[in-house]
Amino acid sequence: MTVFAAILSGVPTTLLLTFAAFGIGVVGGVPLALARRSPHPLPRLTARALIELLRGIPPIVWLFFVFFGVGNSVPGIQPMNAAIISLGVISCAYMAEIYRGGLSAIQRGQWEAGEALGMNRTSVLSKVIGPQVFRISVPAAATYAIGLLKDSSVAYTIGVTEVMFYANEQSRSTSDAIVPFLMAAFVYVVMTIPCAWAARTLDSRLRKRVAR
């Protein structure tokens, strides 16, 4: 039982890491998605290259790049901060792609209607299109958040004290190496199920408020 308690003590860190990184992605994804659709080639191509690189390189490589690479010139960077930054920046790229999908799902007529009413593009975007894009993006964002929760387990490699960290520690200190990992697997499954359920409920509530 003490083994299970030890593994559970990593849950708050796992959740904090996931929510912090996801929060960065939800906010940072917006400018990246807008730049990706910009009529000017420079921001468009920069955003595209950034998104491709962030999504194309495995999270653990970004984690090491931030913690060991950038951390070499920034002394005293905490593992947790490095993990939040690297997973957060990756989330920006994934969220930008999710927003982009949501933007293209909005009918062109809504832009035209907004302009016909004399609104400028910025206010059409922020008052009419934007709120609907967020609602459309909920299911994809939730799927991504669940994936992020699982990906956050890589942070143990740089010493962040989350679930995997304690599972490893317990596995090394007890004679039975397999049980701590089974417990960690159980903890992850239990954490992802409420997330999936909450996402489904939220989605069905928000879906009613998107113009068809």
Partner: protein, 217 residues
């Protein structure tokens, strides 16, 4: 240009790591994808207990992070007297993860085949097996190809997790060069570019395939 110097000096050891990563990904996909098919069929089965068991297994398989499966296989199994080398352990773990995800993708593909075609096949007197083999599978698998390509890219990225079990793949090689020379930034940067050099063209390819498939549906 010290970065370029580092890259020129250390790229051979990274290339050998990349080769291990590619082999690991290819082997895991070749084992895992066929393994996903029975689960895809099981989760669409008419027998309720069989269906629920399969869905539960698949959901558990998808809910557990690949890293946990990897550690479980490599560090956990020796305690039940089953010691695997790091390459075999990584292959087993990634193949299991591939199977869980493949079964969901294939299930979606099989469901996309119109029910009327299955009924038509039955009306023509085709057996259940022939219907599956000649009507449902060829079309269902075609629908599933673009998402399966996406999964392959993810599994290739997931080979980097095998660093934690001391498999000398790309990330391990980069990390060991980095810790010997303290040139982490340039070496890890090069490792990242190596990953990107495979995943980014692959994702373009899968987008193109998806567009082409959409034309035929």
């Amino acid at each position: 240009m010290s970065v370029i110097d580092d890259w020129l000096q250390y790229y051979p050891s990274l290339l050998s790591g990349l080769w291990v990563s590619v082999r690991l990904a290819a082997l895991s996909l070749c084992i895992g994808m066929p393994l996903g098919l029975p689960f895809a069929l099981g989760s669409g089965a008419t027998s309720r207990p069989l269906r629920l068991c399969t869905i539960a297994l698949v959901e558990i398989g998808r809910g557990i992070p690949a890293l946990v499966v990897l550690q479980l296989v490599y560090f956990g199994l020796p305690s039940v007297h089953l010691t695997l080398s790091s390459f075999v352990a990584a292959t087993v773990a990634l193949a299991l993860t591939t199977a869980a995800y493949t079964s969901e993708i294939l299930r979606g593909g099989l469901q996309a085949v119109p029910a009327g075609e299955v009924e038509a096949a039955h009306a023509l007197g085709m057996s259940q097996r022939d219907t599956l083999r000649f009507i449902v599978l060829p079309q269902g698998i075609r629908v599933a190809i673009p998402p399966l390509m996406g999964l392959s890219i993810l599994i290739f990225q997931a080979t980097s997790l095998a660093y934690t079990i001391a498999l000398p793949e790309l990330l391990s090689q980069a990390y060991s060069v980095g810790s010997a020379t303290f040139r982490y930034m340039s070496i890890l940067g090069l490792a990242g570019l190596f990953y990107a050099a495979i995943t980014i063209p692959a994702s373009w390819l899968s987008e193109r395939v998806e567009k082409r498939m959409a034309r035929h549906l």
